[in-house]
Symmetry: C2
Subunit: 414 residues, 2 copies
């Protein structure tokens, strides 16, 4: 009898963004004339930078006369070398091209990397956090049942107003630590001193950090680290996720990469060290066949002088949205963080997040993302995304104001 | 301490094609002037069909003014509807568009689907067979140690000259069965009566068949089934892999699909049935973000009248190569099968496959794939691929003849 992976039965709800999409679809079916402004899912609204599109067209033309056979599973050297030089070596981070694995997305990488670890490791992850980290570990059987909003057996690293949304080191030993900075969903950032503490912790405990830097392009404070590999000692205890999705607008184009340093170690049950890079290479060679050639050429163009300039302009545009959202929300008297070095604004709604989501959807026709979907610490929060057209953000803010002002007054009176 | 998945330590050798590539690279470094003819890995040599390329260019142009945000994780309806109509409904197979999941490759799908099943199911797979089926189950811990060329705990379905390379039903109960027809590497095909036996077996035993039909476009015998869903009763007990790689030349472009019928069931430890379609949808929504829009538009064009005609011509071209290879190899007195409804020719070399591989590489400058990499039944076989330019195939045959004739004579004398 074909038996199922029963860990799937532990998953307590459908994937956050699918649930949001379902509610929005129901609303739109009921109100076909109402234009809904989507400020929920972090999806880009700008086309690819012209430099990337030009590289794309050129590559597709090449394909008219040349068979694009299987490429290297790890990615073409032309792209990996650009990544290593620009994203790491130029910032003093000692990462070589052969430590970079090009992939079809950070969601895939984040979901797949846990396969390399034992079933019984202790996992620590941020609450709130990107659901993929947690759910892929649930599917792999590293958690117990879901009770009171949390899975048993997981160490939740709470990020709340009390700790300025920077989690403290865990009180108990953990083995695999997911950190995401600039953070999704809070928009919080970690400085080098904070991050050094985590690297030191990982070194002291033979733990591994999965550092998700998908939003590093939004960092404006020059003093903040953009990569964990800018921190001394990280090469032995960290892997890093990066993506072209939010920087160069590749969300639907699918290109990302993961950095697995050759000095990174994992251990067998005898305590013998093994090379994580070799294991990941083996995994990818067996289950993955690389990224489309033309997509890698387009990604390469993101590093050209024109590409870099165009990306900077697009990011500036999104960050102007973030400034506006943060200002307007704060003016309504709601506490909000993020939006300074990240495209997300995290708002304390003062009530249940799904209820707030429904209010905004039904009364303002605006979609936000309920913080509940990111963990228990998000129960009273929503995430608003700066990926939008400026005029739409203005319109959304104009619609939100009359809806939220009475709530604020009622709260003040109550 | 971050412990590893120790199942990786059971993997007995590096991935077959990497090992071949390494030997070829070593040879080329030592003989830089020798032109090597690659008849090993099944990679296309023709550019994309012009209809697909035109659709591609059009889609990339669209992207200049439109943000290509995240697409549906399951694939765009425009493509899934074409697939359902042309590949299934037109042949009387009852498959709907929402049972199709578009992916970045059959290797990924074949590697990922096993995540949905329990750790302790009994797996049956063809020997010889595509290594990904076996190795992903090794990584997941469903096998014991590697001993005498095989992993303990796996049921090997032997495909040999004695059974005309069509395996018999297993003697012991199995839960998950991998079948690939037209077969990689042997090129053998299964007729409807053979396949019906397997469907009946799966129904009688609540087993599941993973049917890999990546090479269905090469079937020329109109009486052979192209899909397992042409067989009555298969909808409840089978999933099917399909790919645009070998049909429309998408190997480096990355587009495939898996069919998971809504009536397909898996069971929990209480014996309660669960819907496999829902589980796969949950897996994909959590770990995958869909395929690039322009690639799906190019795949859609494979179903246009021009696209279908162009693909037919390319396949005819490859099949002329297959005819030539089979004729020449047979004329050398070696037993060969395949090449009639498949792009692979499976050759009984009469000696160790890696030794034969080295002889062909060093004496003829021709690369084949050692059958050993596909399983113990391939120990004395090599696979030759018909994906090539006709002139190259002719040249390869001319070079092989003088190398193999003395061997034949020695064998005859010995």
């Amino acid at each position: 009898m074909i038996r199922m992976n029963e860990n799937y039965l532990k998953l307590h709800s459908s994937y956050l963004f699918r649930r949001v999409a379902k509610r929005v679809a129901e609303f739109q079916n009921a109100h076909p004339d109402q234009e809904v402004i989507r400020m929920g899912i972090g999806d880009i609204t700008h086309p690819l930078p012209p430099a990337c599109l030009a590289a794309f067209e050129k590559a597709v033309k090449e394909m008219a006369t040349r068979a694009t056979g299987y490429g290297p599973a790890q990615g073409y050297p032309f792209l990996r070398e650009k990544i290593a030089a620009h994203d790491f070596q130029a910032r003093g981070a000692d990462i070589a091209a052969d430590e970079i694995f090009v992939s079809d997305g950070s969601k895939s990488d984040a979901g797949n990397i846990q396969e390399l670890f034992a079933d019984n490791i202790k996992v620590a992850l941020q609450d709130p956090g990107y659901p993929v980290y947690l759910e892929t570990n649930v599917m792999a059987g590293r958690t117990g049942a879901f009770e009171n909003g949390r899975y048993r057996g997981v160490v939740y690293l709470e990020s709340t107003a009390a700790n300025h949304f920077i989690p403290r080191l865990p009180a108990e030993p953990v083995d695999l630590i997911y950190l995401c900075f600039p953070n999704n969903p809070t928009g919080a950032t970690m400085d080098a001193a904070d991050l050094q503490q985590w690297v030191d912790y990982a070194r002291d405990n033979n733990a591994l950090i999965l550092f998700d830097a998908a939003y590093e392009a939004f960092i404006r404070d020059e003093n903040l680290p953009r990569s964990i590999f800018e921190i001394p000692g990280a090469r032995e205890v960290a892997v890093e996720l990066r993506s072209f999705s939010k920087s160069a607008g590749f969300t639907g184009t699918r290109c990302a990469y993961i950095v697995v340093p050759k000095s990174c170690r994992v251990y067998d049950s005898q305590g013998t060290a093994h090379n994580l890079h070799d294991l990941w290479q083996r995994r990818q060679a067996t289950k993955f066949n690389g990224v489309f050639y033309a997509v890698q050429r387009a990604a390469e163009a993101a590093y050209s002088p024109e590409g870099r300039q165009q990306i900077r302009e697009i990011i500036d545009y999104y960050m102007a949205n973030a400034d506006l959202i943060r200002r307007e929300i704060s003016a309504l008297g709601l506490a909000a963080i993020g939006g300074e070095n990240a495209p997300y604004i995290w708002i304390n709604t003062g009530r249940d997040a799904w209820e707030f989501f429904d209010t905004l959807l039904h009364q303002a026709g605006v979609v936000c993302t309920p913080g509940t979907g990111f963990g228990r610490c998000g129960e009273n929060y929503v995430r608003i995304s700066a990926f939008n057209h400026y005029e739409q953000v203005q319109l959304a803010m104009d619609r939100i104001k009359p809806v939220l002002q009475p709530i604020r007054k009622a709260c003040a009176a109550g």
